[in-house]
């Protein structure tokens, strides 16, 4: 029987509020993995730590702001993007990242998401998509697959979900990609890359929520979902992809496309300036 080793410190302690541990996330949850990739990307970014700002909305993913040892802002449900817009415009030198959930960003905050993408404002969004509202106990949301079960859809979800990369790409973002919590190196690299590309960046991270989504949809364990990712993910590596094929239903034996979907340089939002 292997013994657990207790270590005094961890290399990421300098960037994580270790005094806040243990975190609130369930065993098998993917949010911590996504946060770890963000933390590692910050350390590798070469950007001074004090210039990294994280803003979250509300939800299990929204708790990320409370665990990052950065200037960190846990705003209200849905409003992380406009809050971050204010931070960024007030101090354009800052690298402002929004870290939040699919429900927060695409349901209650959906209007801000498309408008921030349209404006192409220079903020980085990491969206943890666990196909449900985890925090409130597994209700269906804007990313829940059609007919999947949730605590507010005991007979199956009667609604069609958003295909988030397609939505954000069509809205005008400079950068859109998707990874899963299995793809930790790629995710970290991609977050790093988003720091260097001006404009609105949206990285969707598919993530297990065994408690909220998994248990009612026959994926009872976080590892089961990781295994699905391993079997089904298909990497798009030439950037050429029809955004329509990106919709996901974990219950079906279809490919889950991951990788970089949109990478372009539309003009970014800048405050109007006149010669003074």
């Amino acid at each position: 029987m292997p013994q657990a080793t207790v270590v005094e410190s961890h290399p990421l302690d300098q960037i994580i509020r270790s005094d806040r541990m243990p975190h609130i996330w369930c065993p098998g949850c993917g949010i911590g993995i996504a946060m770890r990739c963000y933390a590692a990307a910050i350390l590798e970014s070469g950007i001074p730590v004090e210039n990294h700002i994280v803003v979250s909305g509300i939800g299990c993913t929204g708790r990320v702001a409370g665990y990052m040892y950065l200037d960190s802002y846990h705003s209200t449900h849905g409003r992380a993007i406009p809050f971050a817009t204010g931070v960024k415009l007030a101090n354009p030198d800052l690298m402002v990242t929004v870290f939040s959930g699919d429900g927060d960003l695409a349901a209650i905050g959906g209007n801000h998401l498309i408008h921030a993408a349209r404006r192409n404002i220079d903020i980085k969004v990491v969206c943890v998509n666990n196909f449900n509202y985890g925090m409130t106990g597994g209700q269906v949301g804007p990313t829940t697959p059609y007919t999947a079960k949730g605590t507010t859809a005991p007979y199956g979800n009667p609604e069609q979900p958003f295909n988030l990369p397609s939505l954000v790409g069509a809205s005008g973002a400079n950068y859109v990609s998707r990874w899963t919590t299995l793809h930790v190196r790629q995710l970290k690299q991609d977050i790093l890359a988003s720091f260097t590309r001006p404009g609105f960046s949206f990285i969707e991270v598919l993530s297990p929520c065994p408690i909220g989504f998994g248990k009612s949809n026959n994926i009872p364990d976080g590892l089961d979902e990781m295994e699905l990712y391993r079997q089904r993910c298909v990497l798009i590596d030439n950037g050429e992809v029809d955004l329509d094929v990106l919709s996901i239903d974990l219950r079906e034996d279809k490919p889950i496309y991951i990788g970089e979907f949109v990478a372009r340089d539309r003009p970014i939002f800048q405050c109007v300036q006149v010669d003074r």
């Binding site: 509020r17 806040r20 730590v49 004090e50 210039n51 700002i53 803003v55 702001a65 409370g66 040892y69 950065l70 200037d71 960190s72 802002y73 846990h74 705003s75 209200t76 849905g78 409003r79 993007i81 406009p82 809050f83 971050a84 817009t85 204010g86 931070v87 960024k88 415009l89 007030a90 101090n91 030198d93 800052l94 209007n111 801000h112 408008h115 405050c271 109007v272 300036q273 006149v274 010669d275 003074r276």
Partner: protein, 401 residues
């Protein structure tokens, strides 16, 4: 194109423009808003003026976004503001509570129109008064000012920014369509004569050894110094109940302590926040209380009643919240009757009733047209006739004229 931040001079100026110029004079460098009558001219004027002074103007997708953006900007050190009217103020309510909880200074201009709902977009109202204080969920204390002229909208916008920064709190300016759309003389002073209260800032530099806590007041004014995003203090701000460091703390004691401090922070500094004007109050036996555009009619009514020899005066509420209860109680020692004139159906009248035992007579209108001096004068005369009769019949008149 070059223009000064402070447009010193004497002008015949539109109220909404005076508000925008007041904001600039006060050092506002960030505006986010969404168009809505009768406040839109503020956004329009700032879209022209902000770029001239190197500030930020952004038109957001809605009012939810507008207030979130100004709170974020404030967290990064900006003096920030938005402008709206009733429907937009309703949308801002959740994040008004966030600004209270995060103690992020910001200014919300509400140019009131006839309400509820879409109401009378182009016509005046004063019926957001209670919403300003009670609209967001939970207990909190708000600061709100009500200008009665374009000059005062300039002056009070300047004051609003200073009070917001000094006490780390959102401040609402409760204008109304009459004042917002009125043209009148506005005198803008020299830049060095503009009031300037600083935001309290951390005294120790950032670093692990510094013991700065973003939500720990450093003296008995109950206001914690504020560090800004990007300064290296690595603060955490959350709308969850939090301890002095800003960390979530899910327990009843911390919650009670935090919420009472946020309220006491405003109440115990009320003498620095409250503004009123007294008009013929010295020997007044009848006291008229009014504010905003209605106070203009009330002033005329009081003057005419004085000409008839009636001992009447006016207390004009320049600040509405926190409510000047001590002052109203003191007037209760001298007056026989109170008249509250306001363009709503009794929001401040009920507040006055809480602090005096004398009859409080309301002159009310639901909004859409200014209350003229005549019905106020009529009530003053009625009160005068009844003086001496005991017990006083407690009457309340709802007027549609």
């Amino acid at each position: 194109m070059s223009a000064p931040r402070v447009h010193t001079g004497k002008f015949f100026m539109h109220g909404d423009y005076a508000c925008a110029e007041g904001a600039l004079a006060a050092g506002c460098d960030f505006f986010a808003g969404y168009p809505i009558t009768p406040s839109t001219e503020i956004a329009e004027h700032l879209s022209y003026r902000m770029p001239q002074i190197g500030g930020t103007f952004i038109q957001m997708e809605d009012e939810l976004a507008s207030i979130a953006a100004i709170i974020g900007a404030s967290a990064a050190g900006a003096r920030s503001m938005t402008a709206t009217s009733g429907p937009g103020l309703s949308l801002m309510m959740e994040n008004l509570g966030l600004a209270v909880m995060l103690e992020t200074p910001c200014v919300i201009i509400d140019i009131q129109r006839g309400s509820p709902s879409t109401g009378l977009p182009t016509m005046a109202g004063q019926s957001d008064v209670m919403q300003a204080q009670w609209g967001s969920h939970g207990d909190y204390e708000i600061v709100a000012y009500a200008p009665s002229s374009p000059q005062e909208i300039f002056d009070l916008t300047v004051l609003a920014f200073n009070v917001a920064d000094r006490f780390r709190t959102p401040v609402i300016l409760l204008g109304d369509e009459v004042i917002g759309h009125m043209m009148e003389r506005v005198v803008i002073p020299n830049e060095d004569e503009i009031m300037h209260w600083e935001r309290k800032r951390p005294k120790s530099p950032p670093g692990n050894n510094g013991n700065y806590k973003a939500f720990l007041p450093d003296d008995d004014d109950l206001v914690p110094p504020m560090a800004h995003a990007g300064e290296g203090y690595r603060v955490h701000f959350t709308g969850l109940t939090h301890d002095e460091q800003g960390y979530p703390a899910m327990d009843a004691d911390t919650h009670h302590k935090l919420v009472t401090r946020l309220i006491d922070k405003i109440r115990s500094n009320a003498d620095q926040i409250i503004r009123t004007e007294e008009y013929f109050l010295d020997d007044a036996e009848i006291v008229v209380i009014s504010y905003g555009c209605t106070a203009r009619s009330a002033r005329r009514a009081v003057r005419e009643a004085r000409e008839q020899g009636i001992k009447v005066g006016m207390l004009r509420l320049i600040s509405i919240w926190p409510f000047p209860e001590q002052m109203i109680k003191a007037l209760g020692e001298q007056a026989n009757a109170f008249i509250v004139a306001e363009m709503n159906l009794g929001q401040i009248r009920r507040e006055v009733e809480r602090f005096v035992s004398q009859p409080v007579i309301g002159v009310h209108h639901a909004g859409g047209a200014m209350i003229p001096p005549e019905p106020i004068l009529k009530e003053i005369v009625n009160c005068q006739l009844k003086t001496g009769e005991k017990p006083w019949p407690k009457v309340m008149i709802l007027r549609s004229d």
